[in-house]
């Protein structure tokens, strides 16, 4: 009696199972489908990046959309460059290359440039507005300029709390002896002298690149990275010993190799008013300016902050490193109206109003010729001097900030070696591990 009904139920379930299986297969195999161009001609572009920050992005996009109301940019920011690169890798592997994406120069540039459009296809009319020497960094091994340099940055600088320096009766250090003296007095007063985020491979590496150029004729580290010089060569060992000295001499805090630059060194030490200063890169001069987004609500909110080049530690006078900190690439899959729209945004950010707006935040220094930061008159004298000092240091920079190497993971490997050295390992034998 119930047989027909049971059969119907079974058939229904069977059909359902088939339909679900088919749906899974179909959804698993199909792509997004949205090409980003609406029927009314408006274009939506995806833009994946780690900077600009949300605060920096708001005025940039406002100005762009005012000029281009028919273009919408779907901005996908990420928390930090390393997280961003993981996300970008996943998107690329999934076949969903963003229409526009931020890119770093260095060893991995070639990989990402494979998915980027040749700038000659969309920027040839205005690319000469970018400082020509920077284009070398965004040229891949096939000789294609695959990305547009947008901002430059350099190392090594330190952000300092001038108010705290004054309270303790201290002056800014100018050489290693005064660096030690300041550190000793700060520690005696219960403050951390220089809050170093040595847990970050990128920062340990940036610092060491800057430091190593103060030994011999300078530049040995780039040869070592290229495989043309042993890592345990004389000048690099001397630099590694000096690096170790910064920890053992108490310039950097105990446990510095367990401290990240962001957020720990910045938030838990410097912004918490527990350290006099924190070593960092030129981009952080932005924290000295009025209206910055970092200091409000922190313990240093009412203090005067400044930035200065880190004093010489080695045999030769310290010179900042510099290089393209941020470049913009356009997907090689772009064409038609989307390419036209992306090219407009690229021009806006590289040589147009977008460049000026972003540069004014001091996130980085302009890659475009003829543009300089417009700093408001409401800034402190110290902030203005800091911007001038950092600008001058970068203009006189002799060496690149990032290493280029056949070993794409060199920065990470070098960071680990430097952490081991900071914790007391033998500099020569640790550096030798990088020779493999």
């Amino acid at each position: 009696m119930f047989e027909p009904r049971r059969r119907t139920v079974r058939r229904t379930l069977t059909v359902g199972a088939i339909a679900l299986s088919a749906a899974l297969v179909v959804t698993g195999c199909s792509g997004g489908g949205d090409d980003g161009v609406a029927e009314d001609g408006t274009v939506t572009l995806t833009y994946n990046t780690w900077i600009p920050s949300a605060e920096q992005w708001a005025p940039i996009i406002e100005a762009f959309e005012a000029e281009n109301p028919d273009i919408t940019i779907d901005f996908q920011g990420a928390d930090g460059a390393s997280n961003y690169l993981g996300e970008l890798d996943n998107l690329i592997l999934a076949g969903e290359v963003p229409d526009m994406y931020g890119i770093q120069v260095g060893s991995a540039f070639d990989d990402y440039s494979e998915y980027a459009l040749d700038t000659a296809d969309y920027a040839s009319d205005w690319i000469d507005g970018i400082k020509p020497e920077l284009l070398e960094s965004t040229t891949n091994s096939d000789g294609v300029v695959a990305a547009l340099p947008i901002l430059t940055a350099g190392s090594e600088f330190y952000l300092y709390n001038e108010t705290l320096f004054d309270e303790l009766g201290l002056s800014l250090p100018t050489d290693y002896a005064s660096l030690l003296d300041v550190s000793e007095k700060a520690a005696a007063a219960g403050y951390t002298p220089f809050a170093m985020g040595a847990a970050d491979a990128w920062h340990a590496s940036d610092f060491f690149v800057w430091l190593s150029n103060q030994y011999g004729d300078g530049g040995d580290i780039y040869e070592a990275a290229a495989g043309d010089l042993a890592w345990d060569s004389e000048n690099l060992i001397a630099a590694a010993e000096a690096w170790q000295g910064l920890f053992t001499d108490g310039v950097f805090q105990q446990g510095a190799t367990s401290t990240t630059t962001y957020p720990s060194a910045r938030d838990d030490y410097f912004m918490a008013r527990k350290s006099l200063a924190m070593p960092t890169g030129s981009w952080h001069v932005s924290a000295t300016l009025a209206g910055n987004s970092e200091t409000p609500g922190s313990a240093v909110e009412n203090d005067v902050l400044g930035m200065a080049p880190f004093p010489t530690i080695g045999d030769n006078e310290a010179s900042s490193t510099t290089g393209v900190d941020y470049a913009l690439a356009l997907s090689s899959e772009l064409s038609g109206a989307k390419l036209e729209a992306a090219a407009k945004f690229a021009e806006f950010l590289a040589v147009g109003e977008g460049q000026q707006i972003w540069v004014n935040t001091m996130q980085g220094f302009p890659a475009a010729s003829g543009i300089s930061a417009e700093i408001g008159s409401d800034n402190t004298e110290t902030a203005l001097e800091s911007v001038a000092a950092v600008t001058e240091a970068l203009q006189n920079a002799e060496y690149p900030r990032k290493l280029t190497s056949p070993n794409e993971g060199l920065e990470s490997d070098l960071g680990i070696v430097l952490q081991n050295i900071a914790n007391g390992a033998d500099p020569a034998s640790e550096l030798a591990t990088l020779n493999q």
């Binding site: 299986s21 698993g28 390393s82 060893s107 847990a199 446990g255 367990s258 081991n420 900071a422």
Partner: protein
């Protein structure tokens, strides 16, 4: 005679889960096995290099540090979680005043996200201004300018073990508590009549009766230890250097360094290790039965 559709009906019922498991799990494992035999950088380059990644791994000092740390973490967390969990469960079963609050307190970490636990411990363990060192200074157990680097190269892995135990001890306690409830009270009453004390009852009745529970907890603990990533990455990122790396963080670090083929090989070693250890544990457990 069954029709063609009838014969295939059972297979169609399980088709969705087979597709999901096959596509998401076994395909991924298969791909990882293949990737482990290539020099894949995560994006472009992917040439077959045979077993080179495995040879390299067994010559890599970081692998041995990560392996040692994983073994330390696994042994101590599994062992101490089980002992402390059992102890707390046995005490909680006594129905003392406030035992429900007691259970809730110990179970609370299970309800907290590992990221929150790791962040709280990171601040507690911080060398210069962390609450643990500040407390020791306030108690006069540490000099004003001295500090203990709880997350440093020497103590870091032990601090991570403490975090692991804190995070999961409540789970052991609840599983043991459920197991304890299934032991008949008559057994304890008979033992008491025979003059068995508290400790004797614990070792002669409670622990043997909970053998199955212990076996499950050990298996889960082994697999959980091999998967542990968040509490390490959010406290030490495997550093300083590579001193607190577990196999899982070592894998992630290599992937970040654009060594996707190599990190796949590490993943396969973790998978095989988890499989073998779980198998051994189950065999041992069955033999005891």
């Amino acid at each position: 005679m069954r029709s063609f559709t009838g014969r295939w009906t059972p297979y169609l019922y399980i088709a969705p889960i087979v597709i999901i498991a096959g596509g998401l799990l076994y395909y991924s494992i298969g791909f990882a096995v293949y990737a482990s035999m290539t020099d894949w950088n995560g994006l472009t380059k992917m040439d077959f290099i045979g077993l080179d990644n495995y040879v390299r791994m067994f010559q890599d000092r970081t692998f041995y540090i990560a392996l040692r740390n994983t073994v330390i973490f696994m042994v101590f967390t599994v062992l101490l979680q089980a002992i402390l969990g059992l102890l707390v469960a046995v005490i909680a079963k006594e129905r003392l005043p406030g035992s429900n609050i007691f259970k809730a307190i110990f179970f609370l970490p299970i309800a907290m996200a590992p990221a929150i636990i790791a962040t709280v411990f990171k601040y507690m363990f911080e060398a210069n201004y962390g609450s643990l060192n500040e407390t020791l200074r306030a108690l006069g157990l540490l000099g004003a300018n001295d500090n203990i680097q709880w997350l440093g190269a020497d103590l870091g892995i032990w601090s991570i073990v403490v975090i692991g135990i804190f995070s999961w001890m409540g789970f052991s306690m609840m599983v043991y508590f459920a197991g304890l409830m299934s032991i008949p009270d008559e057994l304890y009453e008979a033992a008491e009549l025979d003059g068995a004390g508290w400790w004797r009852r614990l070792f002669s009745i409670t622990i043997p009766s909970l053998r199955g529970t212990t076996s499950v907890l050990i298996t889960l603990g082994i697999v959980g230890s091999l998967k542990t990533f968040d509490i390490v990455w959010l406290t030490t990122m495997g550093g300083p250097g590579v001193s607190t790396n577990l196999l899982s963080t070592f894998l992630y670090q290599e992937r970040q360094g654009r060594e996707a083929g190599y990190s796949s090989a590490i993943g396969i070693v973790i998978l095989v290790t988890a499989f073998v250890l779980a198998l051994v544990q189950m065999r041992l457990s069955n033999r005891e039965k």
